[in-house]
């Protein structure tokens, strides 16, 4: 959880597993993709289409949300054909030959180039230790003044 940053966007995915089970789960939306993370590392990604969101009123233990469908064998699960074919990756081409995929990769590449340098973890540790040291020094000084 990023304490100081803005809240991250999430959406619910109804995920059908290969073993015949399903789960409603909250996934982060990053760069228009629903992403599954393991310790802040993206391990799976699905394209998030507005057109493929189904209203879901919820059930006990399952919160209401706009829900998209997903499964493990494709990045788009469009059972009704709601999204135009030109907006989806072509199914007769491999992932490295597909224009739709290469467009996504290009976008991400440019984004990585343009991203401004952010604060590193080392900087955060330094600041935290600096504040802690300052607190101790202030406490010592306060005691010296008031005693």
């Amino acid at each position: 959880m990023d304490i100081f940053g803005p809240p991250k966007e999430k959406r619910t995915q109804l995920f059908f597993r290969d073993d015949g089970k399903f789960i409603f789960r909250k996934l982060f939306i990053e760069d228009t993709f629903l992403v599954e993370k393991v310790s802040s590392d993206i391990v799976k990604g699905w394209k998030h289409f507005y057109k493929l969101q189904f209203p879901f009123a919820g059930l006990k233990g399952i919160p209401a949300d706009m829900v998209t469908l997903g499964f493990d064998r494709d990045i788009v699960f469009d059972i009704y054909g709601l999204v135009d074919e030109k907006d989806k990756p072509l199914k007769n081409k491999k992932i490295n030959e597909n224009d739709w995929i290469t467009d996504v990769a290009d976008g991400q590449r440019y984004k990585a180039q343009n991203k401004p340098a952010s604060m590193l973890l080392l900087d955060k540790v330094t600041i935290f230790l600096g504040i802690a040291t300052l607190v101790i020094v202030l406490a010592t000084a306060a005691r010296a003044v008031w005693s």
Binding site: F33, T126, A139, T140
Partner: protein
């Protein structure tokens, strides 16, 4: 505040339109179901009207369904949300609105984390006053001094964090949560009669008398449900079968999203100060801690 944002708005505009609508109703004959002029409302229009008028949605759909369809049959123009507002306003005197019976509900996820932050901040503020009062009596107590210094900014930070704009999470306009027993998870879409386009309608847990297919386990509550998809051509629910062919693996696609090799090229270079900084601060922290202990007044 959240509810206000999504309340139906602009009452003045509604009043103006009501007069026009009244005129239409008085002027023309009313065809009933079965007449040539009668046109049923499209599903999209009903959904739009429900979204615009959540408290009257059920009335539009159930109680004044006939009236609404009659008005639209008289109108030569294509139906719109504005027109549905007219119908809702026109039918108002005849109806007894009961919000509890409405089929439309909005579910707001309460962000309990925000309340937890505020509560923790208030508790810490109380602890601060406790420490401060004790420290006023025992000025040479280092523990109390630390408590005063730490609890005050801590409580301020937690309360500030609690009052930050919460994440709305979910605002849903849809059917009620099922109150009866359910055995199926059904996925619905609908085809708009005017445009011929297909739109997602809802995902709902429902009861089906004779379900087909194999039940699947929902890992959220460990119950088993039949998963069905509404077939728009045959207008029946059919068991959902996932496509077998593998197209683009989400695991492979994760690499496209991350572009790890490319990001490594543009990775930020760490300066020597940044590398050494944490260690310097660790030494400073330990030194200040040592200084605090060394200068603490001894007992007796």
């Amino acid at each position: 505040m959240i509810e206000e944002e999504f309340e139906p708005k602009k009452k003045k505009a509604k009043k103006k339109v009501v007069k026009r609508c009244t005129g239409i109703v008085k002027r023309k004959a009313i065809p009933i179901e079965g007449d040539e002029l009668f046109q049923p409302l499209s599903e999209q229009v009903l959904l739009q009207a429900e979204y615009a008028h959540p408290t009257k949605g059920k009335n539009i759909r159930e109680k004044v369904g006939v009236t609404a369809q009659v008005v639209f049959a008289q109108e030569a123009t294509p139906p719109s949300v504005k027109a549905m507002h007219l119908v809702a306003e026109e039918s108002k005197p005849e109806l007894e609105l009961n919000p509890k019976s409405s089929a439309i509900k909005r579910f707001f996820k309460r962000n309990f984390r925000q309340y937890a932050f505020i509560a923790a901040g208030l508790i810490l503020a109380v602890i601060f006053f406790f420490f401060a009062s004790l420290y006023g009596q025992q000025r040479d107590n280092m523990f109390l001094a630390m408590g005063v210094v730490v609890t005050l900014p801590g409580s301020i930070f937690l309360i500030w964090r609690g009052f930050r704009r919460p994440d709305l999470e979910a605002v849903i306009v849809g059917s009620n949560k099922p109150t009866t027993k359910v055995n199926s998870l059904n996925i619905y879409a609908y085809k708009d009669g005017d445009t011929g386009l297909i739109y997602p309608k809802k995902i709902a847990f429902e009861w089906i008398d004779k379900p087909k297919g194999q039940p699947q386990q929902c890992l959220n509550n460990n119950n088993w449900y039949y998963v069905n998809v509404y077939d728009l051509k045959e207008e029946v629910l059919k068991p959902m079968v996932l496509p077998d062919r593998q197209y683009f693996d989400p695991r492979e696609f994760a690499n496209v999203i991350k572009m790890p090799a490319h990001k490594r090229l543009f990775e930020r270079q760490i300066s020597l100060i940044q590398k050494v900084g944490p260690w310097v601060m660790v030494i400073a922290f330990m030194a200040s801690l040592f200084g605090m202990i060394a200068t603490a007044p001894t007992g007796g």
